[in-house]
Amino acid sequence: MKRQLIAAVAALALGATTAACGSASTNSGSDGDSDTIKIALIPPTSGALAQFGTDAVKGWKTAARIANDNGGIDGKKVELIIKGTDADPATTLRVAKEAVTKDGAQFIGAVMTSPEHAALNAQLEGLGALSFNSLGKDDALVGEQCSKYGFHIVQTSSMDINGLADNINELPGEKWAIMAVDYATGHSAAKKFKAAAEAAGKDVVMEQFAPLNTTDFGSYITKLKDSGADAVFAVEYGADGVAFVQQADQFNLDDQLKTVLGFNMVSEPLFETLGDSIAGYYNNVGYDVDADNALNQEFVKAYTEDNGSAPYYVPADNYLAAETLFAGIEEAGSTDPAEVADALQDLSLDSITGEVTLRGADNQLLRDSYLGEVVKADGGLKFKILSDANPDVTTPEPDSACKK
């Protein structure tokens, strides 16, 4: 018994310290007032994506604050119901059901990954709630997995890749190598890039795919070096992306390359981690923080006041989702999800990214895509926008598989 006691005390002590430093608090629930716009946010609160989840919520919070400061939307107060998930679709779905059936949410935002959206889209009509996707980029979400109640605010992978392909001539390098994640997005991005590169008269000397969650890129980088490529198109996300960049650095791969073009690989939250070695890298950019329009300047100012730092694409795209939703509510003059959904069909609105249109055929928001270069700026790194590509160029025709 004494031995058990030691073990248990040790376990409890460990747990107590842990609980003390980390009990995350959340506010949820509300008394049902039909004159509020209730938006459930279901970001990942654990796992590698938690940081993005937090930032997504910040975008929504700023949007809600501005709206409520201005007397609400269509006279109604905006209320955020902040939930959390571990990014497992099953969990997200359960939380979404809870938010809608228990807390009375009519709208859902800040859901992160494409699989979560796929699972959610399948059940949105049954739930009777609208979902605004500002993070999951998979094309299938506006194709076979589309839903009348699911709105795709963020650019799809196709739009991103078409934006890059459109600008390939501006990038130095003749012999390209493709390093992509062995994942649907990796393969489709590689295929499209290859076609665009060849159309632009460049050589694609090699393509290789690394499984998701690869930690050691040594053998891939060795092959890249041996291929004699002078430019690399890299599709690696999250920890994989960091590992690739870091190891490429150790192998002195950059010496051989004129261009490293990342696809969703480097982004603002990773700048500090990756450090100066990524200066000069190119990447697709979803949102231009310096965009010269009044709505954007207002957003950047408000967001910086709220959070002490400027927004990047994650909070911005979520803010854009809020703008879209609010425009829909105003157009419909109602908070009823079905009526808002109808009002959003082919609706155009002024936003932080200029005028955007919600295409009725597949619920995709038509908006610009950008190509950026990582440059050093006042002690840190930032994206310099090199060019932007119009939705006419980037956005594929609506997928006939979308039957909503």
Binding site: E98, K102, A140, Y183
Partner: protein, 376 residues
């Protein structure tokens, strides 16, 4: 391998001593009666729990309980702790998805196919793993199910499993499952009767098997595998049969899971899912057949209510340690002990120190835990 008895051989017992009295038809009939009553009463649940959210939690727990039931059966009757039953659950779920979406099968046929496929996988895997005991078995089941996970997320498996994107199940128009449309299946209240009946019937079947002569053979193997062989018993086949049976129950759970969720995420085959189910079963306790079920219901409840900030695994980790250290036998085992003590019928003198002469892995301190006993 090893032996029982010297009084100083204090070993743990996650498995509550199963001193069941077998072969009394009276008790068996009472048990069956109770089972049928539970089945009927349970069918009324959707009329009592009208809140969709609560209902969907209950349904989730019921379906996951079948996975825990399978794990619990192996632990209870053979002392074999499996981290691989998620493979059968997941395979059956994917099988439903593929049969309905890719092949356009009717949902009922898909479910039958899924159970058969899951059981067939259990047979193949069982041939490879049931000879091992203790950690050997644990690690082999873990490794093989992880291999399956890696296969399922391969890009070349995308057509079948959807790889990392998961598998969305889409029905041919007009397809129904025993009269329910796909929209009905997602409705927890309407799907409840299937899941509940499946759980109760599986539970009764496993209970009856556990009390049969076959159950005695399993207990003999758990207690002393070597002596069973030296007593003329084939010890491989019963272990294989038990493994396949428990795998079939997990497969049934997986098939129902897919029918209800309409979407299968790759995590279903992952390490975390396997670990969670085992932990839930352990916390519930292996001593009685209900233990893993109770554990799963608690786990699902905790997952729904205490998961904010991602601290669920912190809590389950703590609870797991507390249960293993203080409450061998899990929650149900501890309740039984308390009950017996109150009744004053605690025959176990050595209870205080854990029951002597028993070992969950039945080969404590055996350096060759991985040794596969050759049947020759």
């Amino acid at each position: 391998m090893t032996t029982t008895a010297p009084a100083d051989d204090i070993t743990g017992d996650m498995v509550e001593p199963a001193t069941v009295k077998r072969g009394r038809p009276g008790r068996m009939l009472i048990g069956l009666g109770v089972g049928i009553a539970v089945l009927l009463v349970g069918l009324a649940v959707p009329y009592v729990v009208t809140d969709t959210y609560r209902m969907s939690l209950l349904l989730d727990a019921t379906i996951l309980s079948m996975l825990a039931l399978g794990i619990g059966f192996m632990a209870r009757h053979l002392g074999m702790i499996s981290l691989g039953h998620g493979a059968f659950f997941g395979t059956a779920a994917y099988a439903v998805g593929v049969a309905i979406t890719n092949w356009g099968w009717s949902p009922l046929n898909a479910v039958i196919f899924a159970i058969l496929l899951g059981s067939a996988l259990a047979l193949v895997m069982g041939v490879l793993v049931v000879r091992a005991s203790g950690f050997g078995f644990l690690m082999l089941t873990l490794a093989l199910s992880q291999a399956l996970y890696q296969l399922s997320v391969q890009i070349s498996a995308r057509e079948w499993t959807g790889a990392y994107d998961g598998k969305l199940i889409t029905y041919e128009p007009d397809m129904t499952f025993l009269g329910l449309t796909q929209a009905d299946l997602i409705n927890p209240g309407l799907f409840w009767p299937f899941a509940w009946s499946a759980l109760v019937v599986s539970g009764i079947v496993l209970w009856v098997v556990g009390r049969s002569k076959f159950g005695t053979t399993l207990e003999g193997i758990r207690e002393n595998e070597e002596r069973m062989r030296f007593s003329g018993y084939n010890t491989f086949l019963p272990r294989l049969i038990a493994f396949v049976l428990s795998g079939s129950v997990a497969s049934l759970g997986g098939a129902l899971f897919a029918m209800n969720a309409g979407y299968i995420s790759p995590q279903i085959l992952g390490f975390t899912q396997a670990g969670d189910s085992l932990i839930a079963a352990l916390i519930g306790g292996f001593g009685i057949i209900l233990g893993p079920v109770i554990g799963t219901f608690l786990f699902v409840y905790a997952q729904a209510n205490f998961n904010f900030g991602g601290n669920l695994h912190l809590l389950t980790g703590l609870l797991l340690i507390v249960v293993l250290v203080f409450m061998p036998g899990g929650i149900t085992g501890t309740l039984q002990k308390v009950y017996r003590r109150i009744r004053g019928k605690d025959r176990q003198v050595s209870d205080e120190r854990g029951r002597s002469g028993r070992d969950i892995a039945s080969d404590r301190a055996d350096a060759s835990e991985l040794r596969a006993e050759n049947e020759q």
